[in-house]
Subunit: 214 residues, 2 copies
DNA sequence: AACATTTTAGGACAAGTGTACAATATTGGA
DNA sequence: TCCAATATTGTACACTTGTCCTAAAATGTT
């Protein structure tokens, strides 16, 4: 009694051309999602953008659900990878690493890709369980990285406090997406938000634990 | 040569029953949007939820665009009204008023209405000019209220600094929506975020202006 | 060169979408 | 009570959506 649950099927390419087509599909889907929003993310739009026919698209992704899954995973992992790269390239000081991450996350808001993608993701996550889990994992990884740095900056902090500080930092930055992001009317203030965030977060970490046990 | 531009038409009811129907439509639309997301916000779903037929719906809203406009305006204004009410009911101290607003905004995240509505709004605003303008006006009003309180707390602050602080506060709180909101996996930490936000924001205001002119 | 496998194209389908319109029912003032 | 204005229904249309299926083309190995 195996294979009863075969809801979403994504074919794996064998020839090079097939793999190229899959890449083209995912790239095209990303572009459509970012440029036109999820409402316009239709199989025919994706196929047109990828330069293929719908029949070919459904050969690799017989479900739109499967396509969306691969698409979201690819985009989300690209952000996590970039975060890892930032930390590794920032020396050994946890303060410096922390500031580097904060600055990367905020400066990244200048990219329309980021500004357009994440609100779509958040809206999807509200009514799609799989998207919600995927998103939770991604942000959990981000918070884990932040928490590690917070603990390194202020070692006397408890796990719980450090994790809450990481959550607060993550929230504060994500919230800028709709206002100081690419094309938004407060984009002028992005630099100011970056400085405000860095000083505010570092100070919050430094002085935490003074009046701790509530 | 008048009336060339009659894109969106919304009929005004004359009888009481007509007005009741309009209210039912908007309430139904809000419920569908919040419970099932914009993807499922279809004229037939709205009509079913309102207990009327689609033909009746299109009698009052010949365009889906017009319906969406009224819906978003109604919801957004309800939040602004509630904010005004909070400030008025919090005495004269700007600090107390500021904390009251912060606490209201964060506690409101316990409501699924809020947690589900806003990401849909943000996603819509990315590709719909009218929604974007509506949203900008709403948040501008929120920031204006916050800025006024910031200036009252720290009068020696310049308009620019106060406005940037208000923006930072607004961003930080909105960003919590996807994480500590209703049903989210960090909802346990909502209280902690509230306390963290209040102390962090107040301190940020108090110490601002020390190394100001950049 | 032959050929099984993989890839692509094209057409078809049912279901769902927003919108339009004529016919019927209801309302409230004369 | 009557009746014009308003409200509601039911049906129809053109269009888009995801999905399915068959035939043709391309691929790489033998």
């Amino acid at each position: 009694m195996q294979g009863t649950r075969q809801k979403s099927r994504a074919r794996t390419a064998t020839y090079e051309k097939g793999q190229a087509t899959i890449n083209a599909i995912l790239d095209a889907a990303a572009e459509v999602l970012i440029d036109q929003g999820y409402k316009k993310l239709t199989l025919r739009q994706i196929a047109m953008q990828a330069g293929i026919k719908v029949g070919n698209l459904t050969y690799y992704y017989s479900n739109k659900e499967a396509l969306l899954k691969d698409l979201l995973e690819k985009i989300l992992f690209s952000y996590l990878d970039e975060m890892d790269r930032i930390v590794e390239a920032s020396g050994d000081s946890p303060q410096v690493q922390f500031v580097a991450i904060i600055e990367y996350l905020i400066e990244d808001l200048h990219s329309q890709r980021t500004t357009h993608f994440f609100p779509e993701l958040w809206a999807l996550a509200n009514h799609d369980t799989h998207t919600s889990e995927l998103m939770d994992n991604m942000y959990a990884a981000e918070r884990a990285a932040l928490q590690k740095l917070v603990e390194a900056i202020k070692p006397e902090l408890g796990k719980r406090q450090a994790s809450q500080l990481a959550l607060f930092v993550s929230c504060s930055i994500e919230g800028m997406t709709m206002f100081v992001g690419a094309g938004k009317n407060q984009e002028d203030n992005l630099q100011a938000m970056k400085e405000l965030a860095c000083t505010s977060f570092l100070q919050l970490i430094e002085q935490a634990g003074e009046e701790s046990h509530t």
